[in-house]
Amino acid sequence: MDPLLIFPNPPPPELAQCLDLDGWSWKAVDNAEAAMAEEPDEGWSGAVVVADTDPEGAFALCRRLRKVEVPIQPLLVLVGGGQLDALELRDDLFDDFCLTPLRPAEFRARIEHLFSRAGRGTRPELVEYGPLALNLETYQAAVDGEPLDLTYMEYELLKFLAAHPGKVFTRETLLSRVWGYDYYGGARTVDVHIRRLRAKLGEEHAGLIHTVRSVGYRFGQSRWGV
């Protein structure tokens, strides 16, 4: 599935975590120009605009997103409880709204409902990279068509990495995005799981996960061709 457009860049961490845990593909943009410039070939699948810190900027962006040739929808805005007034007379700019601070269960329900109304699949179902395929529907992973037997956390880590190929993540970021609450052991926990994943990928494919010295890990080729 094509990525969701997210504003602002970077998004609030709790939003990023929600999206990642649910397996949404997404991309954060700084402004309307970036939204146009970075639009995927098939178009944005929808947008989540956080309006609680900079409402003017956020609604200006919504207006731009609605005015393009093919308006971007569904569009969900996140506003603070004290900002409900700001929604008045702006009904055409969004499809639904959700209050901050974010409650993950509510956010999930709203975004899935929006997508089902829009008549589109709500979930990205397949993540593929080279020989690796992850079916997010069935929780199954395979390399060269051979099933990989993973524990839950190994699967979650691989899913996160494979959904962001070419991107370098620090151990701390992986910990907060993939583990979330289960923080114990700190960054070491990440190393332990990377080591297990490489062993399960087998010698031939262990190199899919690169160690980026004194930074962290990267899945697949670098975006910069390094």
């Binding site: 709790e14 993950p104 929780y139 037997d149 839950y152 970021t173 979330g180 332990v192 980026v212 930074v215």
Partner: protein, 462 residues
């Protein structure tokens, strides 16, 4: 130049814990469905560290994940007394694995269980709960312990009373034609498939003796891994008609099997044993932790070395420590502090050398952690390093230097344990008392045995 995504590091992310739990269960149930799993083995451990398994059908698993599996605890060594009756096995979905040696036509899965009382409270007879409790105590003061054991074992031709070795090779010998190295290779493969990465594996000093060094992980996962490893080693050997044993000292005059264990504490993602400002790189935390281990070493030995036979290994020396001491580069010491390579400060660790592979890893890691933490809590001073070879020490020298011995036999170890408030507190009353009763009776039975030593030495002469 690649730039890392350091984005969102707010520590106060409110996670959706319940949902994660549900996700893990879904993951297990979907995997079972997708892979056509026919049998799920629920694993747990009795107080003596023996692996227990109950097989259920996949159809039952969903209910068991939600509600637990009720069974009669009095059937398990060290669990409930008969009048107390039933307990619940609650699968820990994060430990779910497919068994790599199962028949591919009939895949089977395994899952470690926590044992609870019927009202859901944690069951005091379950060693996994003991370790969980001690890990939680460490977390409450900000520490996470990582363990990396080096597990030694022997391959024999069978499990009969006269051990027959498979080879006569020794340390690092290349024994390519040897069935044992083949076995080991296959075992490593299986372990990796079970999420148990191996650091090294090699042929040990003794004939037919092997060692597998595991890559560090947190204490609870490592205790699970040791249980799985023992099962995997035995199972793969058995398939080849060979017997693998973790008995600490199966052969006279040949070094026994130990389970030297590397320990480190992490706090906020940093190695708490490292301090760049000290001459040797060891922090006060590390010093007090070692001091705590040394102070309580005699009390915890019954747990780290629980068999009558364990003391045959300790008394004979070789790679086994006999004295309560620490050193940097002295393999006769009880606690060794390996040299940390420059730039590898995260690997700062200590090695406790008394354990043997017949221990209950949940209880053994618990007492090590508790003894070390007690040292930190009380800011214990580290005694002087033992620089001489302690194996050569005479009794007089030992007394003069004030170096204590580890207990010489199980009885002495049990006496020390019985008087230990630390061990009682660490294990909880239930396991503490059951363990002492069980082990006292093992010792008493042993005391009444006429041994082959006596028959060979006395019978011809008297």
């Amino acid at each position: 130049m690649e730039t890392p995504d350091t984005g969102d590091m707010t520590p106060d992310i409110k996670p959706d814990r319940e949902r994660r739990q549900q996700d893990q269960q879904d993951y297990v149930l979907r995997t079972i469905e997708e892979r056509g799993v026919r049998l799920v083995r629920l694993w747990f451990t009795d107080v003596l560290g023996r692996h227990k398994s109950v097989a259920i059908s996949p159809a039952e698993l969903e209910t068991v994940l939600d509600e637990g599996l009720q069974f009669d605890g009095s059937a398990i060594d060290g669990f409930s007394r008969i009048q107390e009756g039933d307990v619940l096995a609650r699968p820990d979905p994060s430990t779910f694995e497919l068994l790599p040696w199962a028949d591919p036509a009939e895949p089977s899965g395994t899952i470690f269980c926590d044992i609870t009382n019927l009202d859901g409270t944690s069951f005091e007879g379950d060693p996994r709960q003991v370790l969980r409790r001690n890990v939680d105590r460490a977390r409450a003061v900000g520490f996470e312990m990582f363990c990396a054991p080096e597990v030694e074992f022997f391959y024999f031709a069978d499990s009969g009373p006269v051990p027959t070795t498979l080879d006569r090779a020794s340390y690092f010998d290349l024994t390519t034609t040897d069935v044992a190295s083949d076995l080991r290779k296959q075992t490593l493969h299986m372990l990796e498939a079970l999420s148990i990465p191996v650091e090294y594996s090699f042929h040990e000093d003794g004939p037919s003796q092997h060692e597998i060094d595991l890559q560090y992980t947190d204490a609870l996962s490592m205790a699970d891994s040791v249980m799985t490893l023992r099962l995997a080693v035995k199972k793969i050997a058995m398939d080849r008609g060979v017997y693998a044993t973790f008995m600490p000292k199966p052969l006279n005059g040949v070094q026994g099997s130990g389970m030297h264990t590397h320990l480190s504490l992490f706090r906020d993602g940093e190695n708490a044993f490292h301090d760049p400002t000290t001459a040797d790189g060891l922090s006060d935390t590390a010093r007090s932790f070692i001091a705590g281990l040394l102070r309580h070493a005699r009390e915890i030995t019954a747990v780290t070395n629980q068999l009558v036979n364990s003391y045959k290994r300790i008394n004979e020396g070789y790679e086994a420590p006999r004295y309560v001491s620490w050193a940097r580069n002295n393999r006769s010491a009880l606690v060794r502090v390996p040299i940390t390579k420059p730039g590898k400060v995260d690997s700062t660790r200590i090695e406790y050398r008394a354990l043997d592979p017949a221990c209950n890893p949940y209880l053994a890691f618990s007492v090590l952690l508790a003894a070390g933490l007690r040292g930190i809590e009380e800011h214990l001073e580290l005694p002087a390093e033992a620089t001489m070879n302690l194996y050569d020490l005479s009794r007089d020298e030992q007394r003069r230097l004030g170096v204590a011995s580890l207990p010489h036999n199980l009885e002495e170890a049990l006496d020390e344990m019985e008087a230990s408030e630390l061990v009682r507190d660490t294990l909880g009353d239930h396991i503490f008392e059951w363990f002492l009763r069980n082990k006292r009776s093992e010792w008493n039975e042993y005391q009444r045995q006429v041994t082959s030593f006596e028959l060979e030495t006395y019978l011809p002469n008297w």
